[in-house]
């Protein structure tokens, strides 16, 4: 476990040093945080400290950036991320009913992870799949033309995997 973590930190540092030769190298902070989240699943205080040292940027600034953008998670996530699109088209077509049904089914509210550690529920801004509204994205996969019932059935499939 520790070893795996060290390996990830090493990869992150290599990624950071790839920007060293570029002009305005500090401006790549957001790219680095993307990489960190890809490696660790979320951005912890430890990761921020490492980035701070490697990029010579105060941790406070990194904290400011990481908390500003919705894309960055500051706590660990469940195995699957369930993003219910709350874009206009989806909303008009009943996305609120889907999110309520999922909340009740998983017994969690938005931003929380189910007790079995399988699902983290999120509201998404707009997934750009308005033609399929209402949509839910589970990890990278989009499910369109949903109803509350269908959404729950899809979650069941993930549970049984």
């Amino acid at each position: 476990m520790e070893k795996e973590k060290d390996q990830k930190f090493k990869e992150l540092k290599e990624y950071i040093s790839s920007f060293k030769s570029k002009e305005h190298s500090n401006s790549y902070l957001i790219a680095v945080l993307h990489k960190a989240q890809e490696l660790f699943g979320y951005i912890s205080q430890d990761v921020m400290n490492e980035v701070s040292v490697a990029m010579n940027i105060p941790t406070a600034h990194i904290w400011g950036v990481a908390t500003f953008y919705h894309y960055f998670n500051l706590s660990p996530k469940g195995k699957h991320t369930v993003s219910v699109c709350m874009g206009t088209a989806c909303y008009v077509k009943g996305a609120d009913k889907i999110i309520e049904a999922i909340k009740e089914d998983l017994q969690i509210s938005i931003g929380e992870t189910s007790s079995d550690g399988l699902f983290t529920l999120q509201e998404a801004r707009c997934l750009g799949a308005c033609g399929l509204a209402p949509v839910v994205m589970i990890d990278d996969k989009i499910y369109g033309n949903l109803t509350a019932q269908k959404a729950i059935e899809i979650l069941r499939k993930y549970k049984n995997q």
């Binding site: 600034h61 894309y71 008009v92 308005c130």
Partner: protein
């Protein structure tokens, strides 16, 4: 339509179905027609011909004059004259200038930028390179949402392929002009679509806007002169150069030239991207192209411009779609989201939805936007929960007008639009909510009341099944 023209090849693929027949595809001309990952495919549809034409026979002033004559206006929403913007950047003297493509498409319900990049990434690169030549810049940056992984991959592949073919990089096509493009990812902040916030984000900071002037054309990214345009605007550039400004200016209305892509969604039969000449009426788009409202329902309103736009009622459905006409009816062109709303939707609830969005996306830098949108949302929430008070509508109007005038950036300046426009056209719905505690559309669930009438025989079935013990036996 002549074979040689760049636009409207889509007919060859999709046929002249009703959905496509009255569309004119300029920005979307290659989407679905070429393989977006194949440079040869793009070259085959006269791709990079515009860049070659510019590099071999046009001075930078000529390019700018051509864009100006075409009357191209920014497709990101505000509709600022592109030619003028280019000229301002070209006039600046600096060792470094930047050209930025704004692909931070955050409006919920709009997905044309994503489609253009996914379907025709090379055209964006070509447009940017032409601008780079015109304004004297050698560095382009595409700022794109991290939520669009396929678009990012295709863009990366396109940049690689263009570099290999010497269409990007040093001494493009053997000329003295060098230009390279880099991709920067956003991280899910709506306000980063605002140009000054976007540049803050590229610099690695919190994406907060700053007061203008200085405008980006004078002091933008890393305090250097910067030209920033939206994806759809870039996609129009090569067509203007190849087909000529005269042809481009012949499409559209007097003040709004060319076409606009709309993302048709909501309660409509045919959803999807629609590109029509400016000046087309909303009616034509919704009923002829969109196929009308499903399930025999009636149209109530059209929402254009996303959270910064407004709701246009069914009575005004013959409004032509152009920058000025939409502004006149209290909405905006915006990036081109078009949400069709039928009689089942409550306008107060829709206004609340948009305000919830802008309120949570407010960056918090300026007070009118941070505090004002919050208070407006509180009032709206109260109204939709049946707690509305006399005078709430006037309070919303006053707050809304103040926020519009006093906010720092476009987000705040336009955040009250959905509320103000629904008050303007659907005041009776607000009054119904406040005075009669009634939501006619039945969308505000907290206002739904049940009553047991005289037909009740006291069978107790409702008492038995009620999950919430809401029925009491006395």
């Amino acid at each position: 339509m002549s074979e040689k023209k760049l636009h409207n090849r889509s007919f060859e693929v999709f046929g002249k179905s009703k959905f496509f027949a009255s569309q004119l595809r300029i920005a979307l001309r290659n989407c679905g027609y070429i393989d977006p990952e194949n440079l040869d495919d793009y070259l085959n549809v006269r791709g990079f011909e515009a860049l070659a034409k510019v590099l071999t026979g046009m001075k930078s002033e000529d390019v700018i004059a051509e864009i100006k004559k075409a009357g191209l206006r920014g497709r990101g929403g505000a509709g600022f004259g592109s030619g003028l913007k280019w000229e301002l950047v070209a006039r600046e003297k600096s060792d470094q200038k930047y050209v930025i493509c704004n692909a931070d498409e955050g409006d919920p319900g709009a997905f044309m930028d994503r489609s253009i990049i996914e379907g025709d990434p090379f055209t964006v690169l070509e447009g940017m390179a032409i601008a780079g030549y015109a304004v004297g810049s050698d560095k382009g940056i595409v700022y794109i949402r991290a939520e669009y992984p396929l678009a990012i991959t295709r863009l990366e592949k396109a940049i690689d392929a263009a570099r290999k073919a010497n269409l990007l990089g040093n001494n493009i096509l053997g000329s003295k002009f060098s230009f390279d493009i880099e991709i920067r990812l956003g991280a899910g902040a709506f306000v980063c679509g605002e140009e000054t916030a976007l540049m803050q984000s590229i610099e690695g900071h919190r994406g907060m806007p700053r007061p203008r002037p200085p405008y980006p054309s004078a002091s933008g990214l890393f305090c250097k002169p910067t030209l920033i345009n939206n994806v759809e605007t870039w996609a129009n550039v090569p067509v203007i150069i190849v087909e000529g400004s005269q042809w481009f200016a012949s499409v559209g209305t007097e003040k709004s030239k060319g076409t606009k892509v709309f993302a048709l969604a909501g309660k409509i039969t045919n959803t999807g991207l629609v590109e029509v000449p400016m000046g087309t009426t909303l009616r034509h788009v919704i009923f002829d192209i969109g196929g009308g409202i499903p399930k025999g329902k009636n149209l109530k309103a059209v929402q254009t411009g996303g959270p910064s736009g407004g709701c246009i009622p069914v009575e005004l459905i013959d409004t032509p779609i152009d920058y000025d006409s939409l502004a006149k009816v209290g909405s905006i062109m915006g990036s081109g989201g078009m949400i069709v709303i039928d009689e089942d939707s409550c306008m107060v609830n829709i206004a609340k939805y948009f305000l919830e969005f802008t309120q949570s996306e407010s960056c918090g830098k300026c007070t009118p936007c941070r505090e004002g949108t919050k208070r407006m949302l509180e009032i709206l929430t109260r109204i939709t929960e049946g707690q509305g008070k006399e005078g709430d509508i006037e309070k919303l109007e006053r707050l809304g007008n103040t926020i519009k005038k006093a906010s720092l950036c476009g987000l705040g300046q336009s955040a009250p639009n959905p509320v103000l426009s629904t008050i303007r056209y659907f005041r009776n719905e607000y009054e119904d909510h406040i005075k009669n505690k009634k939501c006619t559309a039945g969308a505000c669930s907290k206002m739904i009341r049940f009553e047991i009438n005289d037909k009740c025989i006291g069978c107790g079935a409702c008492y038995e099944t009620c999950k919430f013990d809401a029925i009491e036996m006395i």
